[in-house]
């Protein structure tokens, strides 16, 4: 399991320097670490978070937005009619609720279709593993900067240490 402070430090070392989002239990440890470092801007909806990140990008920052995959549904229009056409990069750190059908009912549909959904809207994505951690982070940041669009880093349960290990 990757420690939250190691995860955050690695992102900061890669130049990511603006963090916003809406919480999820899988992301709890990361958000706690971001709050300790006083670099987290809490948003009330995922489309708002993506908007805030877009503004921060235009103000010279490299932004990341944290969300549960349910929030992907909420912010889809912003990603398509803002980021993708205005060429605004953003790292989306998305927790994979409903993966493999083992979760509460509200997560099952999105949990099943998320990878295809991202393919359909042409947003590159990669699922983080402990073994490929450094390479995964390098790839997502490099890809979003090179292509100037959002890129999703998918987090499954237990890869990065949560609040309650």
């Amino acid at each position: 399991m990757i420690d939250s402070d190691v995860f955050v430090q690695a992102l900061q070392d890669l130049g990511v320097n603006f963090f916003t989002g809406v919480p999820d239990s899988i992301l709890g440890g990361i958000i706690a670490e971001l709050m300790i470092r006083r670099v987290y801007v809490p948003a009330v909806r995922e489309d708002e978070a993506v908007g805030i990140a877009a503004g921060a990008y235009m103000g010279g920052r490299v932004p990341a937005v944290l969300m549960q995959n349910s929030g992907l549904g909420t912010c889809l229009n912003t990603l398509m009619s803002l980021n993708l056409i205005y060429r605004q990069p953003c790292l989306l750190i998305v927790s994979w609720r409903g993966q493999g059908g083992n979760d509460a009912p509200e997560h099952l549909v999105m949990g099943e279709v998320m990878p295809q959904l991202l393919e359909t809207v042409r947003i590159p994505h990669r699922t983080l593993t402990e073994k490929t951690f450094a390479e995964d982070l390098r790839w997502v940041v490099e890809t979003l900067m090179k292509r100037q669009i959002p890129v999703v880093l998918i987090l499954t349960k237990g890869v990065v240490k949560g609040l309650h290990p």
Binding site: D47, I52, G59
Partner: protein
């Protein structure tokens, strides 16, 4: 009666008045006719014209304001847009960025799609902003009050919200001609430093 009785000016007249009082401040302009009208009246590189992502103008401006704390950042918004992203009132009210000025042109209709009524004739958006924690909030109906209050807001620490009641008249303005990616690069360059 729509819009509010006593409202004399059009959004285009209100926009022209505000633009005269601005210099090099970054301005994020919501989608629909507001972006088209601003683009027609004064196409400044400091303007970020939105053509989609309705409801997100204030969120984008908030991001700019947080990344550029030494610049006063202005949002041009509409009542339909504010209602769609009303949670951002709360985020702004909680974070209290001093350099954030939110100008809402309230015509009580979705003008871009054919003047279907919004609910801002019943829900007073300025009062919502005040409750959410905006520091300076004013509601104006005519040009003189608009000039006085906006000049005053430029001098004060925010977050501030100026709600301008405007009529439904729409300026004959074409679509924004720039490619969206050009709008991004041009805006970024203009607000650098």
């Amino acid at each position: 009666m729509r819009p509010e009785e006593g409202t004399l000016i059009s959004r285009a007249q209100a926009i022209a008045t505000v633009l005269e009082l601005l210099t090099d401040q970054p301005v994020v302009i919501c989608n629909g006719f507001p972006s088209r009208e601003v683009h027609k009246m004064a196409d400044r590189p400091t303007h970020f014209y939105m053509i989609g992502s309705m409801g997100n103008a204030a969120a984008i401006a908030l991001g700019v304001a947080l990344a550029k704390p030494n610049k006063q950042v202005v949002t041009f918004d509409g009542d339909g847009n504010v209602l769609m992203g009303m949670g951002t009132f709360a985020t702004v009210g909680a974070l209290r960025p001093k350099n954030f000025i939110h100008v809402v042109f309230d015509n009580e209709v979705y003008g871009t799609t054919g003047n279907q009524p919004t609910i801002s004739n019943v829900v007073q958006l300025d009062k919502v902003a005040k409750s959410a924690g905006y520091v300076n909030v004013e509601r104006v109906l005519d040009r003189d009050d608009l000039v006085y209050e906006f000049k005053d807001m430029l001098k004060k620490d925010g977050p501030s919200l100026l709600l301008i009641k405007v009529n439904e008249f729409v300026e004959d303005a074409g679509r924004v001609v720039h490619d969206p990616s050009v709008i991004t690069r041009r805006f970024m360059k203009a607000i650098e430093g």
